[in-house]
Symmetry: C2
Subunit: 366 residues, 2 copies
Amino acid sequence: MADKILSISRRTRSTPFSRRVEAAGVKGYTVYNHMLLPTFFDSSEVDYWSLCNDVQVWDVSCERQIEVKGPDSERLIQLMTPRDISKAVIGQGLYAPLCDENGGVINDPVLIKFAPDDWWISIADSDVRLWARGLALGYGLDVEIFEAGVWPLAVQGPKAEKLVTRVFGDEVPGIRFFRSKMLEYQGRAMMVMRSGYSKQGGFEIYLNDPELAEPQWDELFEKGQDLNVRPGGPNLIERIESGLLSYGNDMTMAHNPFECGLDHFIDLDADIDSISLPALRKLKGRHEHQLVGLVFDELMQLDGFEIHHDGRVVGDIRSLVWSPRYLRHLAMAMMKRDFLSQHQSVSIDGKTGKIVDLPFDFDAIM
Amino acid sequence: MADKILSISRRTRSTPFSRRVEAAGVKGYTVYNHMLLPTFFDSSEVDYWSLCNDVQVWDVSCERQIEVKGPDSERLIQLMTPRDISKAVIGQGLYAPLCDENGGVINDPVLIKFAPDDWWISIADSDVRLWARGLALGYGLDVEIFEAGVWPLAVQGPKAEKLVTRVFGDEVPGIRFFRSKMLEYQGRAMMVMRSGYSKQGGFEIYLNDPELAEPQWDELFEKGQDLNVRPGGPNLIERIESGLLSYGNDMTMAHNPFECGLDHFIDLDADIDSISLPALRKLKGRHEHQLVGLVFDELMQLDGFEIHHDGRVVGDIRSLVWSPRYLRHLAMAMMKRDFLSQHQSVSIDGKTGKIVDLPFDFDAIM
């Protein structure tokens, strides 16, 4: 299948970094939350090694921040997620699936209690704002809900801490994982969190002034020259090796958090008012599918995504990539649990793939 | 700006027609409702002449149908739109903006009363399903809301009626504009409506069985050979010449329907319960912007979308295209009304553009 051009319009929104991203030679985009997300600059594989060895700057403006503000903000956020948020600390990121009344996953954002009665939902690719506003209106809640004027820039890779420290100062190394500090950039306070969509370490800078986007981008590249800083984006190889889920790919509204292995983020026993908890309490242990890893030694060709066994569909491939590090084909697949209870492998295109737990344990696999 | 590749994954969903679209040589896509929408096969201009002279088949599966079913379905739909839907006829399409409590446009779908207590919302690019589900839960409405297993295929162009008649039979010509009939295809009843996102005439076939997608695509191409049938997609040149609005491009949630010239679809005096009506009644006549057409004789270069005059921003370009028929640069722009009341033209890049009403009246312009 030959490469296809993305037709860009105002509907596929640009970001305050787009001119720099273009100048840096972006080759591919995807569209995420109605916004351009750069996917690769050289090739997925070259970008992968740069991310794993050095440091990259990613325009992840498309991680839109849905801000929920007002006296009922915490109540609304808690209605939306089955994770207990009552002990959230200001400036802390909480990975928290949002689930509907059937337990289906609406989104899997990072929640940030930005200030008392002021929450940010750092969303994956679905219009959470619309769900939140529908709920708020229907329940008569006293909140304002809007897309904040914030465009996250991620700095990822083993040398990220060094680079971000050079730009934001000595407070950076003291920031713990999924915690943040408000740090000054050209006289303006911005949230800097130790987070990001890779397992190579790094930070996300929540840029809140579009005028500062280009100066910030330029400064990161100037100060990172000796660190081999490169432009990048969420990298398919790295994120699958690391077992990071992608909403819309590995899971959808048709799946519940147990199927996605998100049990740890569901507080079934908490005394909280959350839309999905009644359904999730019933579903626990009875869910039909499980997201697992598949490992193939050889390249195989997909003809559609369904996985068949003995004439029936037993699951489907959600994400797939060739790992240049492990020299394996790695997939995430949503498989029927009754099949999993009886099988340790699947067959696709005549090739056998080993079924493993997520995240991949390469010591055990290799 | 060089062309960029679209990175395709399961999140950018394929359709039942995708294999045929690929085989037909699609060159560009956009992402619409988290789904691939083919944008061009030859070039935008070559595709344009084919659409205007002959007939095209478009995979517009991304016009997702949000189905709202149950005793409270009409009540929910009416809450969402300020257009009075009480007199809707089964099988009729109603273009109806959905608006929030501030009057902002959430989407501009075609509503279809499919059966009593069973509505389809044929949506533009935003997750209307999430808003509807939030409202339904909050208001305690007895409805089911889901994305229907329906993938529209559009047949557009002056020869569309001839082609659709060859496939669906003699009842086709009797279908009036924005009306539909349930017609059989290989033993299965499908809705066929006289509608589509062009002004060249045509139909939309609401395919409801993915297994029939490829046979239907193939039959349309076989029976349309002598009509010069070509694959296509919503065409930027044609839709701007025709003044067809695009949600996310020409208007967003930040705009109200008066600003978009949609006054005709707002029933301000109706005795209906609709979320946006109180706000819209106050806004009428006081809205700040107006969507207008701009006509430039010469090509101009955009540096950003904002339009400046005397040191202030007086509007912004929303869509822009070169018309090979009229040899003019045509834009849709959201302009400040106080500027419009004093000016008949704008200046961009040193070129003067005439301000005109939408849709463009080319007899008056030329």
